[in-house]
Symmetry: none
Subunit: 199 residues, 4 copies
Amino acid sequence: MSQTEPAPKRGPGQEKRRQELVEAAFHQIAERGFEGLRTRDIAARAGVNIATVHYYFPTKESLIGGVVEHAMARFRTTLAPQGSPADQLRNHLRAVRHLLVDEPEVGMVMGELALRSARDETIAAILRDGNDGWHRAIRGLLRHAAKAGQLRPESDSDEVAALVMATLSTMTLPTMTGAARNEQALRQLERWLFNQVID
Amino acid sequence: MSQTEPAPKRGPGQEKRRQELVEAAFHQIAERGFEGLRTRDIAARAGVNIATVHYYFPTKESLIGGVVEHAMARFRTTLAPQGSPADQLRNHLRAVRHLLVDEPEVGMVMGELALRSARDETIAAILRDGNDGWHRAIRGLLRHAAKAGQLRPESDSDEVAALVMATLSTMTLPTMTGAARNEQALRQLERWLFNQVID
Amino acid sequence: MSQTEPAPKRGPGQEKRRQELVEAAFHQIAERGFEGLRTRDIAARAGVNIATVHYYFPTKESLIGGVVEHAMARFRTTLAPQGSPADQLRNHLRAVRHLLVDEPEVGMVMGELALRSARDETIAAILRDGNDGWHRAIRGLLRHAAKAGQLRPESDSDEVAALVMATLSTMTLPTMTGAARNEQALRQLERWLFNQVID
Amino acid sequence: MSQTEPAPKRGPGQEKRRQELVEAAFHQIAERGFEGLRTRDIAARAGVNIATVHYYFPTKESLIGGVVEHAMARFRTTLAPQGSPADQLRNHLRAVRHLLVDEPEVGMVMGELALRSARDETIAAILRDGNDGWHRAIRGLLRHAAKAGQLRPESDSDEVAALVMATLSTMTLPTMTGAARNEQALRQLERWLFNQVID
DNA sequence: AATGAATGAGAGTTCATTCAT
DNA sequence: AATGAATGAACTCTCATTCAT
């Protein structure tokens, strides 16, 4: 993810400046929502003139596209293929919780994207893809773990995976049910999943 | 300008017109989000002039306040004090699911409010209150049901209540994990809650 | 044209303000051309806020549409149905010359419109209509005058009418051939037409 | 960056590239008018970077200056000193018509320049010079032709020349009176000039 | 000789809000 | 109680121009 290979060099300009702008937009969305997203603020945050924003991204919408990719990428880091299936699942839950605690902005932005996807088919398609992949991954882990005797086998893995996703997703909106309660929900989920508290 | 009827309750204006405006705003938020909320559209939807909106609500923000109340009220209908504690809980889950299926706008608006609460302490306070009450209600039902032998007693009712809230909350954002998967999550939640003893 | 009948009240606002804006735009076009036409300048000239311009005309283009109508209307005044055909023709030439001398802005704007019509089919259609009507009118006068023995009969009235239009049109662009020479051209045209100098 | 050839004439840059840019600008003006003239489009049309345009022409205005020269030069080709005065005149009319039919862009640009000259004294001076020379040339031909008995002698050659210029000028704006009618006007002009004795 | 990156100034348009009626 | 007219401020986006390389 951060090697020495030359940047893809898509569009005009250097990839570095592009990335700075995407991150500036990302943070603005986290702080003010799409509702309060202003190109001038993004430019100011990135320390460039507003015209520079349009030099790299012809429209505000195309910049938002960059933010979507960025947010999805942050999330993908939470699924690491190390250890037994049950460990992978445990680690995934932990990784998501840590991600959302360490970088609450990721959660805010994901929430904004989820809301916006109802009006923006481009975002909707990307989220659908991401969620489908996520669901497959969790379900796969559940099945393997059950087969290996690490989990109770009677679970319908499709539905259990859905519940896992639901619980984790709620964490992205800290104020949805209250930040503290999100932790409790996750703990109870783990208890039911593994019949013990993790961490 | 020259009527003889006594003015209605709250300040100027009739309650009916106020309610119409709140509902128009409510639907606009559901359709376009706060991002796309325009007083002109609200006025048009309510069939009045823009200035009329400001006659009843001095600012856009105050109108949003009315929408918050409206949305919360829609939600409170899902907790009915009939039947045994376990039945009440079951009915609550069902009622929330039906509400969100019948009136998806309630879910959309709740999602928008949850997101906005991160930047708006007024909304945050209202949501906190609502969620605290909701949590107490569910926890109370869980405890009573456990005491009455209708549920497994070993559960930490605080955390189970949190998981119930998390699962239901996710349903408000259909595209968060996918509409179909929300149903599955709820089914799995019910299975773990009501059906079997774990371990 | 300026009676006491109520204004047509098309679109928002009163016709008076609309007309003021059209005239402000008209003068700006005459002075700076379409090249230098700025909504802010139009607003300033009309003594209103720039948002007021958009209150009456949703887009700059729609305001330009109003200017086209206005300019065409100014021109139509030069054809008056009084006197013999030859007199009408003579008067028409005189009226056009006077109009372009008294209000050189009409000429400038017509020139701008002619140029713009190459890229704007809406304007092109209006100019085509106007020119067709103009041609028919002049040709009719020529024919009637010839029939009444007031003009040499051998002329191809279609082509003579075209030459009359060409000569008058050039006058709208004072700098096309030079203002003074436009007067000379018109005098020569009259000489050939009527075999004598008019005025 | 490291060539050994001596730098070409005018200041920096080669004349060839300058000419390419002028022609690109010329065509852009013909297609979009001054209203739609963008340095970026000129650069793209010439296949160079925007900054290169400014390397050869410090400002947009200076590039326009080049276009004026170019357009005038195209026009001067229509006066050829071959044949009798009457033939030269006939040929001139024909040449102008052919030029405007074959390269309608010349007409469009001349129209744009004529309009712009009202606001740009530099252009105005150049057009005045050109028109004065044109007028002298035509008047000279008329006088010589009359003296040689090839044309009716009684004409005021100043005014006839002005009418010739007016008629030809109108042809540059095809939509001024309608392309077809421009041809008719020219035909009638020729008829009056060459064919018959009036009175 | 030529360019990619960057920008200041300004373009048309939008919007919540005000006010006289 | 309700509105048409009007506006200040701010929005996204554009453009001629500059400059280091």
